[in-house]
């Protein structure tokens, strides 16, 4: 069953997920003005699946059930599927101008699917079958699942078991006949509150002494002992202002991150997909990170499309659209954005089948993709700010524009003064100019900057993590051989 956006929102109301924000419990989090835009973003992943103009990207035929499923719960069956995943993410970035959150789950499904297959092959366990049963349930119910990898990590120089507080990495505290009990937390969790389920993975490669940390499992978001503390975003409380619209930049959509706490949560055996097989923790991390580094070659590009469009509108509204340096800056932004897309498409096209049968991206190219993502959105934002002008950060509030308080010598209101002095070219009204500048502000340093900037830096791993992978996959030795042949060096 493919849910509609509305059905998805209603399905969240049935969950008893425990959410805290500003030091208090949020009872009706579905309608909370700070949270709701992020729910609307996820809802778009459902809504577009019903639109014939987007269905080809948004849906796929499940290899597990033969049924049509949302691509966000699909196991990639070909390089074409990998390419379509990236295209779908670009599309959703364009439609929401923000992080739509459902990708982490999709990336986790594909990584856990192939890794459980490999674990079973080595240890004769039955994790893969358990996971397949779980994924069938997810596909049939069309659920959103948080792919949760990142532990809080405490002192970064120490291994999990060497931390003073053992809970700084999520771990197994009890093994029972019917399941396990886990304790710890996952930080920065994208869309966690908006997810029906959580799929947990370890955060780093592990050694034997850390085997209690080698754990992968799934639990409903309202499992006993599980709760979330909402991550605040820059300018978030603007959403609490009465009648807020223009000042939000993007009124309808947004992203979401939270600290997800596992306060001794019981996980039944059928939902455990790794337990102490520490030698597979690194494999799982690498595969998930690989898929997620591919993902950014789609989602960030779609958001980039919105930002480039906004910058071009700002140029029109400021009356500078014909200036050659402005045109050139828009070309540069497009060039950078499409370069990211090239990386997303390239690592997908060069994908290959895993032993389990689903497709994995090309690791080198996916890491190159993400490495570029840690840089280009910053440059695109810099150019957008250049084009927009300073007003994007000095503009009075929308209340001022609406104010009829008389302040001028001839009885002009605050609104009239704002409109008089902040007008741009005849191409737009002052309000339209405000709207587009606020959208740029939102993406450059407001709530959406979380997804477009800092997540581009750290999400799916900080830049150094990609450089390690690039070093490993770069094949410098073969390149030396090439150079030797051309240069006529005979020495081995």
């Amino acid at each position: 069953m493919l849910m509609t956006g509305e059905q998805y929102i209603e399905s969240l109301r049935k969950l008893k997920t425990r959410v805290y924000m500003f030091g208090e419990k949020v009872e009706n989090w579905v309608d909370h003005p700070i949270i709701r835009p992020s729910i609307n973003s996820v809802a778009m992943t459902y809504e577009l699946a019903h639109d014939p103009q987007y269905e080809d990207l948004m849906t796929a035929k499940s290899n597990l059930t033969g049924e049509k499923v949302n691509r966000f719960s699909h196991l990639h069956q070909s390089t074409e599927d990998l390419v379509k995943k990236v295209k779908m993410q670009r599309l959703l970035g364009q439609k929401t101008g923000s992080c739509f959150q459902r990708c982490v789950g999709m990336d986790a499904f594909n990584a856990v699917y192939s890794t459980t297959y490999d674990i079973d092959k080595k240890y004769g366990t039955d994790y893969h079958k358990r996971f397949v049963d779980y994924l069938k349930y997810v596909q049939e119910e069309d659920l959103t699942v948080d792919g949760a990898m990142t532990d809080p990590k405490g002192d970064r120089s120490k291994a999990p078991s060497a931390q003073e507080d053992k809970d700084l990495y999520l771990h197994v505290v009890e093994k029972r006949e019917d399941g396990i009990v886990v304790r710890g937390a996952k930080a920065h969790q994208t869309g966690s509150i908006n997810s029906h389920e959580h799929l947990i993975m370890p955060t780093i490669a592990l050694r034997e002494e850390d085997k209690a940390y080698a754990v992968s499992f799934a639990v409903p978001s309202d499992a006993e002992g599980l709760f979330m503390i909402y991550g605040r975003q820059s300018c978030d409380t603007r959403k609490l202002e009465e009648g807020a619209d223009i000042d939000l930049g993007n009124k309808k959509f947004g992203g979401q991150e939270a600290l997800v706490v596992f306060d001794d949560v019981f996980v039944p055996n059928e939902r455990v997909f790794m337990c102490e097989e520490y030698d597979f923790a690194g494999v799982l991390v690498e595969r998930f990170a690989g898929y997620h580094r591919q993902s950014y070659g789609g989602c960030k590009v779609g958001v980039g499309d919105v930002l480039i469009g906004a910058a071009a509108l700002a140029a029109d509204y400021n009356g500078v659209n014909k200036a050659s340096h402005i045109k050139d800056k828009l070309i540069e932004m497009t060039h950078l954005n499409e370069t990211l897309y090239c990386c997303g498409i390239a690592c997908s096209s060069e994908g290959y089948p895993t032993e389990a049968g689903n497709y994995q991206i090309d690791m080198l190219l996916a890491n190159v993709c993400k490495q570029n993502v840690t840089r280009f959105p910053y440059e695109i934002v810099r150019l957008a700010e250049d084009i927009a002008g300073g007003l994007m950060v000095t503009m009075p509030s929308e209340q001022d524009f609406r104010s009829d308080l008389k302040v001028g010598k001839n009885g002009e209101t605050i609104g009239e003064i704002c409109n008089k002095y902040l007008v741009g070219s005849p191409a737009a009204t002052t309000e339209e100019r405000m709207r587009v500048l606020r959208l740029i502000e939102n993406l450059a340093l407001g709530t959406a900057a979380v997804g477009y900037r800092t997540e581009s830096m750290h999400g799916a791993g900080s830049p150094q993590a990609q450089r390690i992978m690039i070093a490993r996959q770069g094949n410098i030795e073969a390149k030396k051989e090439l150079a030797k042949v051309i240069a006529g060096i005979k020495k081995n």
Binding site: Y54, E55, D56, L57, K87
Partner: protein, 103 residues
């Protein structure tokens, strides 16, 4: 009543499949509307479904890649593909040709 049914049966059935629209270079929906407007009730256009038999498929891509999947649909006369606004006339011509042959 019978006459209406027979006329209905004669109508060419065209299944429409859009690409997923990640970065279309033109308005694909409007292009379809133009084609539909041209044929009025001579061709029955509907979004392609797997369990339906069509006379012809119209595959509307947003760019030259035209990556829409369509092999899962049944069509007697194959498919017509377009990926640019400039293709509207060509599509109309091809569909006219098919109508001519089937009459």
């Amino acid at each position: 009543m019978k006459i209406i049914t027979e006329r209905f049966d004669l109508k060419l059935k065209c299944g429409v499949r859009f690409c997923g629209g990640c970065n279309p270079r033109y308005d694909r929906g409007r292009a379809l509307e133009k084609i539909k407007d041209y044929f009025k009730d001579r061709i029955e256009f509907s979004y392609a479904k797997e369990d339906v038999d069509y006379d012809i498929l119209l595959v509307i891509g947003g760019c030259t890649n035209n990556c829409a999947s369509f092999s899962q649909f049944n069509s007697k006369l194959g498919s017509i593909k377009m990926w640019s606004e400039d293709h509207i006339d060509k599509v109309i011509e091809e569909l006219e040709g098919i109508l001519l042959k089937s009459n």
